[in-house]
Symmetry: C2
Subunit: 213 residues, 2 copies
């Protein structure tokens, strides 16, 4: 039975890692694993793993460990991976196209139902089965299809206005690849930023300053 009282972001961000590794174990045919074994493989402490899992309930058996298959399913459920969230992608540039083609959205609860771009050189072209639609069609499309999630792969300048249009059409969740930091005045939205440049700068810092952890 889940407890779920104010789970911290630190815990949530480790769940996909557990899920990924457990899936891998399952594929390898491993049926049971202890928190200690997990901790070694993942480079964490056993304490942390046990505590993370216990935020959601006791999935293990004392003296035995965790059943890989079962734990994997449990975490999948916690993450909500069996949900179906209608998703659109805005921006069919290099990155947008790669995201659309590369990601297995379905496995993570999302269904890509439309790709948009405002450049005439892109609209009408085909990406992974989807025909790129002109961004002027956004409102019409949303009214009909009611997407709940938008992936933003557009330049900084365009973001604020697109967000407002999408919010107006009921979209509340954003996976943001733009350089723009979406600071939502709205309370009911979820934003996950992926700032590749920030990641690269962090890497640059760490290379340049090998002393720091």
């Amino acid at each position: 039975m889940p407890r779920r009282e104010n789970i911290s972001m630190s815990v949530i961000r480790r769940l996909p890692r557990y899920y990924r590794f457990l899936t891998h174990l399952k594929d390898k045919g491993v049926t049971r694993i202890s928190s200690t074994e997990l901790s070694v493989k993942l480079g964490l402490t056993a304490s942390q793993i046990r505590q993370d899992l216990n935020c959601f309930g006791g999935f293990g058996q004392q003296g035995y460990g965790y059943i890989v298959d079962q734990l994997c399913d449990e975490i999948g459920n916690i993450l909500g991976l069996s949900s179906r969230y209608k998703t659109i992608l805005i921006g069919a540039g290099n990155l947008g196209r790669a995201i659309a083609s590369h990601m297995q959205f379905e496995d993570e609860g999302f269904d890509l139902i439309g790709i948009f771009d405002s450049s005439p050189s892109k609209t009408g072209t085909r990406i992974n089965g989807h025909i790129v639609i002109d961004t002027t069609e956004l409102e019409n499309f949303c009214e009909k299809e009611k997407p709940v999630m938008a992936i933003l792969c557009i330049p900084r300048e365009g973001v604020q206005s697109i967000i407002e249009r999408l919010y107006g059409m009921g979209v509340r969740n954003f996976w943001n690849f733009s350089h723009y930091d979406i600071s939502m005045r709205y309370e009911d939205t979820v934003v996950e930023n992926v700032h590749l440049n920030d990641s690269l700068m962090t890497l640059c810092y760490r290379i340049s300053n090998p002393n720091d952890k």
Copy 2:
């Protein structure tokens, strides 16, 4: 004068954000800014910003604030953005191609000097001015060019062996897009993971559990 004694990862990960925003301000012609103003724009507390900056020295003036231009440069220096790190990219699939075309590596201290792939359908093709080289040529290439950084855009299975080959050739820094969690036995390496699927799963969790923060 920098102090730099064991800067925490939390601080380091905020630096690119500051840098990005200050660059933006600079472009807009803003010349000075206070920690309070910054905190409002970035959605952080002024205390945090002041403390972050003071890890590296006092860049502001009491009663006045920070000079945008100067602070921006300082943070750029701290991040080491003027470094030149020879970089190669492994894996010319959807994601690899997008990363190679989309990123402004030069602005972040990296020079992309080669792209590799093991599939004959990719080798010889051109990506953003680079001809894709067969991965069998990796050792020859490294011996000559001495890259220090590798971007990994290959499937999980290939990662461990590629890392070992690269490590053998002196590459110590990795920007990893694969689903594989690089757990380095080696002490002198820097790994920055970008797990897009994890990010998406986190998003899925947050949509499915709107109560949590």
